[in-house]
């Protein structure tokens, strides 16, 4: 039987600028993408003030991308993304993944035409701006891979190792911290955990992508709301595990993804899918507040 879960998610971001912003361009990745495990029942982005122009399109990785332009002065911007999605659990029953050495070979150029899945995976096998493959990453992951010939097992072991050895410490890294910086600091937030795990996999010649989305949070007893004020969006890792396809791992929580994760977008790293990115002209200092609520239905 197919296990599914429905959610209602609200993701609200408010910028308070110190002065008037004369002109700005914004790029949003806030629309949950649809794929075999996830359906989008409803979605809307509410903007205050209304933009001068708005344009929605698919980006190169198949995510919905929203571009906004503001050409009238404003000192505040509120972006509220509301969605209803249905997530189903991955179905790997009875099937294992290939050995990771076989996957390495599959992803290596041979001169023969690669199949479409492999070509797609190649996008996520190389260096990207936050993630530069290095020997240190491969060395770090070596024991997990020595112990588990199958990729699924090795990736799970790597996830557990990262979860165990890195400290979850909000505020110690920032939005531009690279995989290597976080790796050396041995701490970070979900973005950094995901980057580190991807860096290890790519350093071994494997393909892994960065997934941004939301995590189901169980409201504390007696509280009638599930707002988690400090919580913004979540991030985890998807690993190319033929013949299963892409399998998701959450190194921040040391869990393989089931129906508790809602996907918004994926890319090579955070840079491809940052939820809100803006270039503003003027405005002075700004304050930012983010609220995410995830309600299971």
């Amino acid at each position: 039987m197919k296990v599914t879960q429905r959610y209602r998610v609200t993701h609200e971001t408010v910028y308070h600028y110190g002065g008037n912003v004369a002109h700005s361009h914004q790029l949003l990745h806030l629309t949950p993408r649809e794929f075999d495990r996830q359906q989008r029942r409803a979605h809307v982005i509410k903007l205050d003030p209304a933009p001068s122009r708005r344009h929605d399109a698919l980006d190169a990785f198949g995510n919905v991308e929203t571009r906004l332009e503001y050409d009238a002065p404003h000192d505040r911007l509120a972006v509220r993304s509301e969605m209803q999605v249905e997530v189903s659990a991955p179905d790997h029953a009875g099937v294992g993944s290939l050995e990771w050495r076989a996957v390495q070979n599959l992803l290596r150029f041979s001169g023969d035409p690669p199949n479409a899945a492999v070509l797609e995976a190649m996008r996520y096998r190389m260096e990207s701006s936050y993630i530069k493959p290095k020997h240190v990453f491969a060395d770090y992951a070596a024991d997990c891979f020595d112990a588990h010939p199958d990729l699924l097992g090795a990736a799970a072991a790597l996830m557990t190792k990262i979860h165990r050895e890195f400290k979850y410490a909000p505020g110690t890294t920032h939005i531009r911290t690279s995989a290597l910086e976080a790796f050396q600091a041995r701490r970070g937030v979900c973005q950094d955990f995901a980057h580190i795990m991807i860096a290890c996999l790519r350093s071994l010649g494997l393909a892994a992508r960065y997934v941004s989305g939301y995590l189901r949070t169980t409201p504390p007893p007696g509280v009638d709301s599930s707002w988690v004020g400090a919580d913004a969006s979540h991030a985890w890792v998807s690993v190319f595990c033929p013949p299963l396809g892409w399998v998701d791992f959450d190194p921040t929580n040391d869990i393989q993804v089931g129906t508790g994760h809602i996907v918004v977008a994926w890319g090579r790293d955070f840079g491809d899918v940052s939820p809100l990115r803006g270039i503003i002209i003027g405005g002075g200092r700004h304050r930012l507040s983010v609220r995410v609520s995830v309600r299971a239905e």
Partner: protein, 806 residues
Amino acid sequence: MPDVGLESYRSDARRYDELLDSDGHVRSHWRALIHALTADDAAAVRHGVETSRRLIVENGVTYNVYADPQGRDRPWILDPLPVLLTGEEWREIEAGVAQRARLFDALLGDLYGAQRLLADGTVPAELPFGHPNFLWPCHGMKPHADRWLHVYAVDISRSVDGTWWALADRTQAPSGPGYALENRQIVSRVFPDLLNDAGVRSLAGFFLALREHLLLATPEGEVPLAVVLTPGAFNETYFEHAYLARQLGLPLVHGHDLSVRGDTLFLKTLAGLRRVHAILRRLDDDFCDPLELRGDSALGVPGLLGVARAGRVMLANALGSGVLESAAWMGFMPQIAERLLGEKLRLPSVATWWCGEPAALDHVLEHLPDLVIKPAFPNQRFEAIFGRDLTPDAQLELRKRLERRPHAYVAQERLAFSQAPVWRNGPSQPNGFAPRAMGIRVYAVATPTGYVVMPGGLARTSSDAADVVSMQRGGGSKDVWVLERGRRVAEEPPAAAGAAHGIARHDDLPSRLAENLYWLGRYSERCENKARLVRATLDVRANAAFWPTARKTCEHFTPMTLFEDPKGLGLKADLARLGWCASQARSQLSAENWRAIGVMQRDFQEAARAKRDVRETLDALLLSLAALAGYALDDMTQDNGWRMLIMGRRLERLQFFAELLSRRLQSGATPTQNELEWLLDIGDSTITYRTRYLSLPRLTESIDLLVFDQSNPRALAFQWHGIERTAVRLAASLGGVPDDALNASVTKVRSLQLAGLDGASPRAERARQNLAAQLEELRQSAARLSDRLSLKHFSLMDASVRVITA
């Protein structure tokens, strides 16, 4: 023929010799040149060398890291002896280069489109996907007119058998065509007759084609506007950006001169926003749009990618074209040519192995000593290594590197470059010809009928006999002559520029340039005012009665300590600001003007370091500033940029003198003889006063001279007339009405009675107070006018641009 003068030139059996054939004779197409150069004696050549060096300095040709007035420019190195190629040889190169351009254009189309070559295994996906200039946001894009590659360059050299090989392709923003043109213009002044007689093909057509191509992007009914986009004055080839822009007659702009509104790209000009149809870019593609391309930078033009996606701007070259700049592609070019064009590659690449292929890696590991190992991607921290130079340990280390990440490395055969003669002279060696390894960068530009190749190019020579040819490593450059008897011969020196002037429009002046010119004017004048004030004040130091007042007044405007200025309120700081504005407006200044500013800065810094005599320093500084004023009047095209500069000068002088006079007159007592002399000295009007009035200074006459005399260039009246005239002309050029912020207070000052200012009577005192009040009002209106000008013409310049991510 006897090879006179060639005693010092030796062939090298390992190399192709451009000059000598295998029997050691001068090749026939070189004979005329060699004959001409050796006929008289070496003096002619020496003279040529000296002329070319002088021209390089005079024209301000530099190749530098910092193009600042501090003088860190490195002069461009040009050997006046050209490299000669026959028309026949050239046609083969031409066809090969044009084909490569066509091929790379098609390859970009595939990589950013269907990616058929990746799907069928012709090209490894690692090559594009691992390259930092493969820009995913450009995937699926249809560039303007379906063209990715507009300007292409390739470095070629030939092997010992005379075959030409491609060594490196430049597909992003090829540097150097401007240097090639500048080299030709200098060499054509050194050897005008030779150039004519030999039948050398002209370069002008290439630049005209480039300009036309850029302007082709203009839709019916719109005024064409194409710009050259530079990363700025700190770029190592900034001279070339400015030079190219001038030659093509296009504005040279920075990222923040441009703005995207909706689907349209605009240039912020003095006249407002003007639509831009094409960009010749010298900014790396990942820096072009901070919104979509590079997370850590606010450089570039936010939203540019959106405009490109909408097909509403031509980008030469298209964003993402830098992906082809990697040696890794070279080994795959023959198959790609077959696949995309169904043609054989005419200009082959030097033998190349991409180590990501297991068979290639085996070959490379086996032949390491014969190969050059290079990084596959430009962002790797790995310098090219010659296998033969490695110790056994280093070789082992390299093997390990290659085996761990084979896809990141490329191996190439070492090519023994051909050699050509350069003119050698110096104290330690005899004058004469010497052989140097040589390569040529050849350029192609897209036209509606296919790619056109520049007949010539930029030849670069090694600094010694080594095979490294690069300007960064201190090698030299040469002009390349393609000989074609019976075809167009002499160079028309300012060919492209002449054609350009007809279309260049004054209102294309970027606001940033206008603003910098305005402030260049103000700071030039401010420095002069302060220098005069300090000098005149120091001169009255011995006058015990007047000195305290003079000093107090002076210090209201500027600290009297010249070399110490911790608060940045004095001359030293203003000179630095002047230099900054000049560097920003450099493209509008002549080479002499720019150099004069640099020399002035250096002299002042030198004086400060040596703690030189203050009076002497001020005299020298005022002389330099007078020269700048001369350049302002005599050396600039009187367009709107110049008008902003003059406006800045006039307003600054008006404000300064109005304030100086009104401060003095407010203070009550009638000014003493000494004081009037001091004021006249600051106003540079002492001699005028003496010749006109033949008397000791009196207040009424002094005020007449310093305020009302329109013929005195220091008088306030001269300034307000100048301002009014300039405002009228600006308005006529840009539309709108002239700003009248000054008019009311000018009228009031003019209506004042001059008589009765002298004396101690209460009436005279009231008259002085009244004049002081009117002058103060005039000063305030001038300040208001300055603000209004800024708001009207410069407000498009953005104070701060920031990236915010959540």
